[in-house]
């Protein structure tokens, strides 16, 4: 299964009728892009050690990437991660009054995924990104 398959579930949840559905959609959107990012990095040769916190491992490699689109992927991960924490844990929050957070999360995950896919599809950009990451994260 690819991480992006979670976006299908996120859409189904976003179409639900309760805050529990909309909150859950945020988490699926986050994991869709996080897992895709992790798997791309793995294909590019960047695998976290067992002691590395994997979420931060993925995010930091994108945050400091030379390719600006990959940096935006990192930023999307940053913000979705924080939104997911609110969605999953802050049950007293009066937010999630409608599906706006869910729709926003899905849209941002899709945009980040498109940026990631564009780098993957371009051998020159992909190679440059990998070389830069190897230098920065030997």
């Amino acid at each position: 299964m690819d991480g992006r398959a979670f976006l299908t579930v996120a859409r189904e949840l976003a179409a639900g009728r309760t805050a529990a559905h909309w909150r859950s959609a945020v988490g699926r959107a986050y994991y869709a892009i996080f897992l895709e990012g992790r798997d791309h990095l793995q294909r590019w040769g960047f695998v976290p050690h067992q002691r590395d916190p994997v979420h931060s491992f993925v995010r930091l490699r994108f945050d400091y990437a030379a390719d600006p689109d990959l940096v935006m992927v990192g930023r999307a991960l940053d913000n979705l991660s924080k939104l997911r924490n609110v969605a999953d844990y802050q049950t007293q929050s009066h937010s999630f009054a409608d599906d706006t957070e869910a729709q926003t999360s899905i849209t941002n995950a899709l945009r980040a995924l498109a940026l990631l896919d564009a780098v993957e599809a371009d051998p020159v950009r992909r190679a440059a990104a990998i070389v830069d990451m190897r230098v920065r994260w030997p």
């Binding site: 996080f34 916190p53 979420h55 931060s56 995010r59 930091l60 945050d63 400091y64 600006p68 940096v71 935006m72 930023r75 999307a76 940053d78 913000n79 991660s81 924080k82 939104l83 997911r84 924490n85 609110v86 929050s93 009066h94 937010s95 999630f96 009054a97 409608d98 599906d99 706006t100 957070e101 729709q103 926003t104 899905i106 849209t107 941002n108 945009r111």
Partner: protein, 109 residues
């Protein structure tokens, strides 16, 4: 901080201390100012320090922007703010700060 709006903004002591510890006060002030001045329909802002968690091994300053839930579909604010912060600061600064948008019922409940 040259804030020119009347939008309520609270910053927790923990977030204030973390910003000082990181030495990013000036850049953080610009982020808050940009938040207050650039987001349409913004109701209020809370800045918190979120502790390290299962998906983040560092504590992080989180700017929470509250907006009315108007059912207008996906909102571009978070993405646009992310783009602005990348264009404006170095990752050594912005990686410590996140901004999220939360949408509340129009009657505030």
């Amino acid at each position: 901080m040259a804030v020119t709006t009347n939008i309520p903004c609270t910053i927790s002591p923990e977030a204030t201390a973390r910003v000082a510890e990181l030495g990013i006060q000036h850049d953080f002030d610009r982020m808050v100012e940009h938040t207050l001045n650039s987001i349409p329909e913004l109701r209020r802002v809370e800045v918190l320090l979120e502790s390290a968690s299962e998906d983040d091994d560092e504590s992080r300053v989180v700017i929470v922007s509250y907006l009315p839930a108007l059912g207008n579909g996906p909102d571009p604010t978070m993405w646009q703010w992310g783009q602005w912060v990348i264009d404006t600061f170095s990752p050594d600064v912005w990686r410590h700060v996140a901004m999220i948008t939360l949408f509340e019922a129009v009657d505030g409940r």
